[in-house]
């Protein structure tokens, strides 16, 4: 706070959340190095939406950009949360998978190429159900192939968050970057309430939702690697840092024994609250062996 009674950094910051998918992707590259692949004028849209009376978007809500981050080749794939909830359909999923496969091929030829996925998504697009599911399976295969060569970084900034099948893709990422506004989880609050009742999860309780799915909790329990303010410069900085760090020694999703042990140790006879759970799973700086 300054003497005028407001935080100048907060006022002057450039919000990342307020940017659309194309602007978000552009903001992560070294200035002037990015170009869009299969953009809206290529008109590769979903063939299924119009049949069901839904207006398609020309890029199917998936922006693919190639360029340089910290001077190194990188591909950024950004999902547009405002179009159909950022859902993954046949086309958007195929674009994402193809982008990662091309990055993988570049790595195999010795051109180190990192990948960043900007996930603002509810998961599979229900209008394209089976194709959406299939494409998420393909995407996960592509991430596993690519992350051997170069980091695959997941950024979920909000406010849609990352849910459903795409939370599995996030789980495979080398690094997960979140803001306090973002949420990450398999089942969204409304799905849990619908399936298990309001006693299990009250989806109108925003404090509860963010205490469980929110970026702060995910970071505190070691399921995200960085918690960044909604500030474009700080977020781009974090992405550059993770690109430079390279492939982690052990990916989170490979630490099967660690997470099995943790789950086995959970006393399920008592109801855990988010704070208690955080104390138990606090892992940033945990002494548990990572294997």
């Amino acid at each position: 706070m300054n003497d005028k009674g407001y935080n100048a950094n907060f006022i002057n910051r450039q919000s990342f959340i307020e940017l659309d998918a194309r602007e978000r992707a552009t903001a992560l590259f070294d200035a002037g190095t990015s170009r869009e692949l299969l953009g809206p004028f290529d008109r590769v849209e979903s063939p299924w939406l119009a049949m069901q009376g839904v207006t398609p978007q020309e890029d199917d809500g998936c922006v693919v950009m190639k360029g340089k981050i910290s001077g190194q080749a990188a591909v950024v794939v950004a999902l547009e949360g405002a179009f159909q909830g950022g859902s993954i359909g046949e086309v958007s999923g195929a674009k994402m998978t193809a982008a990662f496969d091309l990055a993988c091929a570049d790595n195999e030829r010795g051109i180190r190429t990192s990948a960043v996925m900007l996930l603002e998504t509810g998961g599979v697009r229900l209008q394209e159900a089976n194709l959406g599911l299939a494409t998420i399976a393909e995407l996960m295969g592509s991430i596993l192939a690519l992350r051997k060569f170069a980091p695959v970084i997941c950024l979920t900034a909000g406010t849609v968050g990352c849910f459903g099948g795409m939370s599995l893709a996030a789980g495979l990422a080398s690094y997960v970057v979140m803001t306090r506004e973002a949420r990450l989880g398999m089942n969204g609050p409304e799905v849990i309430e619908q399936e298990n009742g309001v006693e299990e999860f009250d989806s109108s309780d925003r404090e509860l939702i963010w205490a469980i799915h929110g970026g702060e909790q995910r970071y505190a329990t070691g399921l995200a690697d960085a918690l960044i303010d909604d500030d474009t410069l700080q977020i781009a900085d974090a992405i550059r840092r993770f690109v430079s760090m390279g492939v982690p020694a052990v990916h989170r999703s490979s630490q099967v024994a660690l997470y099995r042990n943790r789950i086995a140790k959970l006393d399920t006879s008592q109801q855990w609250d988010p704070k208690g759970f955080r104390a138990l799973w606090t892992t940033n700086g945990s002494s548990e062996e990572k294997r």
């Binding site: 207006t55 020309e58 405002a82 179009f83």
Partner: protein, 97 residues
């Protein structure tokens, strides 16, 4: 979803294409591309049926000022007429810049 098309007379060539907006609730996507000849073609897909007259009124007004030879595609998710007008003007601004 309803599809609507209009043609308007055009006088001048347009320097480059422009893409603005998102097919999100209450918003729309506009793709504006230079075209040959002395005509502007508008192709609309809207999620809200039955507003052809309103679309015509908005575009009639827009083309009283705009004379570029273009192909405009609009993908609409229930934008208000004011919003449509603003997105069209934004597309022109990007294309003429």
């Amino acid at each position: 979803m309803e599809q609507i098309e209009f043609n308007y007379p055009a006088k001048r060539k347009v320097p480059k294409r422009a893409h603005v907006g998102v097919v999100g609730s209450g918003d729309l996507e506009v793709l504006l591309e230079p075209s040959e000849g002395e005509v502007a073609h508008v192709f609309i897909r809207t999620s809200v049926d039955g507003f052809r007259d309103t679309w015509k009124a908005v575009l009639d007004r827009f083309f009283t000022k705009y004379d570029g030879a273009v192909r405009i595609q609009i993908n609409d998710a229930g934008a208000t007429p004011g919003n449509v007008q603003l997105r069209l003007e934004q597309a022109v601004e990007v294309s003429d810049r």
